[in-house]
């Protein structure tokens, strides 16, 4: 069976200027396959500017790659038309970061749920539409009677974010792209939303791509993880392995910088070489080299992915003795 969504050597550069053209590579040579048969939760992690939101935009078809192709059920998404395009739009859904910004304050929250039902002609009668809304809201743990007919300002951030998930759910998507869905809600509500996402994957068979910079929640919710830095894959694999035994110096720095709510685990086990290089855009070698404590002569050439074990790979010459992994085969390492 053809995979649901497939990225083949996708690169995205943003350029500006007419005469002195400068370009900025947001994502370079990423290949990724999302299979329909086995729903999973995959994390894409990285700091700001790592290209994680660009990846979300590409997957949703909001921007087009500079080079490379994105396939939806075997068809290039830039050539999709008519019915095919509608089904792509329906099956690939998103939940965004800010639960406050996506609502129109002039409409009740019903609007957010009823528009997609109308657009995709999911219901024949009003009663049927109402049933669908009820069903979706119940699935995310909200009581429809409490929610429908209310205005966004009458609801809490956590409720709004769950309505966003419900909106995606109404459409019965195959793939949900969640871009920092919990970074703006309180810690006590985070658990509820993450639990909702997980039940979506488990009970409704939706594959979720969880985009975040928060590795603690990533660890708890996902099966596999891809760590990005300046548009390149630094490390990827089984989330347990990557978080518990990080290998790439960047991942180690990231994990060591998490403020663990644990008094016995203090910051500062890894020496921090935090200073961003001044105007360090033009690095031909490893992107992380200017900050890396283990930088070597070799690092002036870009490191390929080295396969460390069955479910972990890192793009670093420290592991140069391991077999190389072609970027196209990255998805094979990610457990589902």
């Amino acid at each position: 069976m053809a995979p649901l969504l497939e990225l083949k050597n996708v690169t995205k550069t943003y350029s500006r200027g007419l005469i002195n053209r400068t370009s900025n590579t947001a994502l370079s040579n990423i290949s990724l396959t999302i299979d329909e048969a086995e729903p999973t939760i995959m994390t894409v992690a990285g700091e700001s500017g790592s290209g994680k939101t660009t990846l979300a935009m590409l997957l949703l078809g909001f921007t087009t790659p500079t080079s490379g192709t994105i396939f939806y059920k075997g068809k290039d998404i830039s050539t999709l038309h008519g019915e095919k395009r509608m089904s792509f739009r329906r099956e690939v859904q998103a939940v965004f970061q800010d639960p406050f910004a996506v609502f129109n304050p002039f409409y009740t929250v019903d609007h957010l749920l009823s528009v997609p039902i109308k657009k995709f002609k999911l219901a024949k009668t009003k009663a049927q539409a109402r049933d669908k809304m009820d069903e979706a809201l119940t699935a995310v743990g909200l009581r429809p009677d409490d929610i429908l007919g209310r205005f966004p300002h009458q609801l809490s951030g956590g409720q709004r974010q769950r309505i966003n998930v419900a909106r995606a759910l109404v459409l019965k998507p195959r793939l949900l792209i969640a871009d920092e869905p919990v970074s703006m809600v309180d810690a006590s509500l985070r658990a509820n939303i993450l639990e909702t996402l997980r039940s979506l994957q488990r009970d409704h068979g939706v594959t979720i791509i969880y985009i975040t910079h928060d590795l603690t929640t990533a660890y708890h919710i996902s099966k596999s993880i891809i760590v990005l830095y300046r548009g390149g894959v630094m490390e990827a694999g089984d989330v347990d392995k990557v978080i518990k035994t990080p290998q790439h110096p960047y991942t180690r720095l990231l994990i060591d910088s998490i403020p663990w709510p644990d008094l016995s685990r203090r910051w500062g086990e890894t020496e921090l070489k935090a200073k961003e290089p001044e105007g360090g855009e033009k690095t031909t070698g490893c992107r992380f080299a200017p900050r890396c404590p283990y930088v070597m002569e070799q690092c002036k050439t870009p490191p390929p992915l080295f396969q460390l074990n069955r479910t972990q790979t890192a793009s670093c010459f420290l592991y140069g003795a391991n077999p190389e992994l072609e970027p196209e085969r990255l998805s094979e390492l990610l457990p589902v």
């Binding site: 910079h213 708890h220 518990k244 990231l254 709510p261 008094l263």
Partner: protein, 339 residues
């Protein structure tokens, strides 16, 4: 050593069309020089109101309705408006939430720093003021060149550090940082927090860190105050808070923290934070509390010390149970563990 900051029975209300919202209801705390206090709570619990009230920056429809904020030996609430203006930055400094977006985009960083100094000390020479700015920038680990730069030339973490540099220009005794790292990623967050730590050692000032990230608190502060619906629920040392939280809300908060051991277990706090307009009678936490008793629904628990430690808790579980027992005479009530 006398405390550098004393907040006594601080009361703030917002008067809205639908009634009076008591955003702060009798908050009392003390801070010693060099101490770092974390103030945690859900959104809407009054953390930011607390910071603004201490700076006397509450705007209508909000009003400070009572209480004292004493820095050193000055009661800020008794100062004239002009006196308060002079005290901001020189006695007590505030780094607002999203401070990095508050830098003026059309002025150089240096000009904005000089501005702050001039406001307090118009007679200071240009060269002297500039030297002070440069050393402030250096102490937050920024290059001197930043002085001549514009805000857009700096990264988020650097802008946040510029804001810290501005806050220390007049050597305040207390710095209030309201979620200084909420928009930054973990590595930058760690740099900013390490900068704050370093500044605190250098100046010997006290820091109040406001936030909801318990992990950050564990790494940074000495004492944690848990706030709920405008009242302090518990004030403990960070060690006590993480190993043996007393208040049921604090316990739920600690339990909801993710760790590496119990993968996939999410424990939220059931229920929603109450609206400040319609607070439940008695203890504000009673509708969500698992240990709720009859007394919780009728009487607001006082914020009492819990001997022998220095911690304070506002919960009926730790008083003898009946309403009279909470009067001043039985303050030393023995803690009864009902878990």
């Amino acid at each position: 050593m006398p405390p550098v900051l004393q907040v006594r029975d601080l009361q703030v209300s917002y008067y809205t069309d639908s009634g009076r919202a008591r955003a702060l209801d009798g908050v009392t705390l003390e801070l010693n020089p060099g101490e770092k206090l974390g103030l945690v709570g859900e959104s809407g619990s009054g953390k930011s109101t607390m910071a603004l009230a201490m700076m006397r920056m509450i705007k209508p429809p909000g009003r400070i309705e009572g209480g004292q904020v004493i820095v050193g030996d000055t009661d800020l609430m008794a100062l004239s408006e002009e006196g308060m203006r002079k005290s901001r930055l020189s006695k007590i400094a505030y780094i607002p939430q999203g401070a990095m977006n508050s830098l003026n985009p059309v002025l150089r960083i240096g000009a904005q720093m000089i501005d702050a100094i001039r406001a307090h000390n118009p007679s200071e020479s240009r060269a002297g003021a500039q030297e002070r700015c440069l050393s402030a920038l250096e102490s937050v680990d920024l290059k001197r060149g930043v002085y001549k730069m514009y805000a857009h030339e700096l990264s988020g973490g650097m802008k946040q550090r510029v804001c810290i540099a501005i806050s220390i220009l007049m050597r305040p005794q207390v710095i209030i940082a309201d979620e200084p790292t909420s928009a930054l990623d973990v590595v930058t967050q760690r740099q900013v927090m390490e900068t704050l730590d370093h500044i605190q050692h250098q100046l010997g000032c006290a820091i109040i860190l406001i936030g909801h990230d318990m992990g950050l608190m564990a790494q940074f502060v000495d004492k944690v105050a848990v706030m709920y619906a405008g009242r302090l629920m518990e004030l403990s040392s960070v060690r006590e808070m993480f190993t043996d939280p007393k208040h049921p809300y604090a316990q739920a908060l600690i339990r909801s923290l993710p760790s590496l051991e119990n993968k996939g277990v999410f424990q939220g706090i059931p229920g929603l934070a109450p609206s400040l307009l319609r607070l439940p009678s008695g203890c504000a936490f009673n509708p969500r509390c698992t240990f709720v008793m009859d007394v919780c629904k009728s009487t607001v628990p006082a914020f009492l010390p819990l001997p022998p430690s220095e911690r304070r808790v506002a919960c009926h579980l730790y008083t003898t149970g009946d309403a009279e027992a909470m009067s001043v005479s039985t303050r030393a009530a023995t803690p009864t563990e009902k878990v």
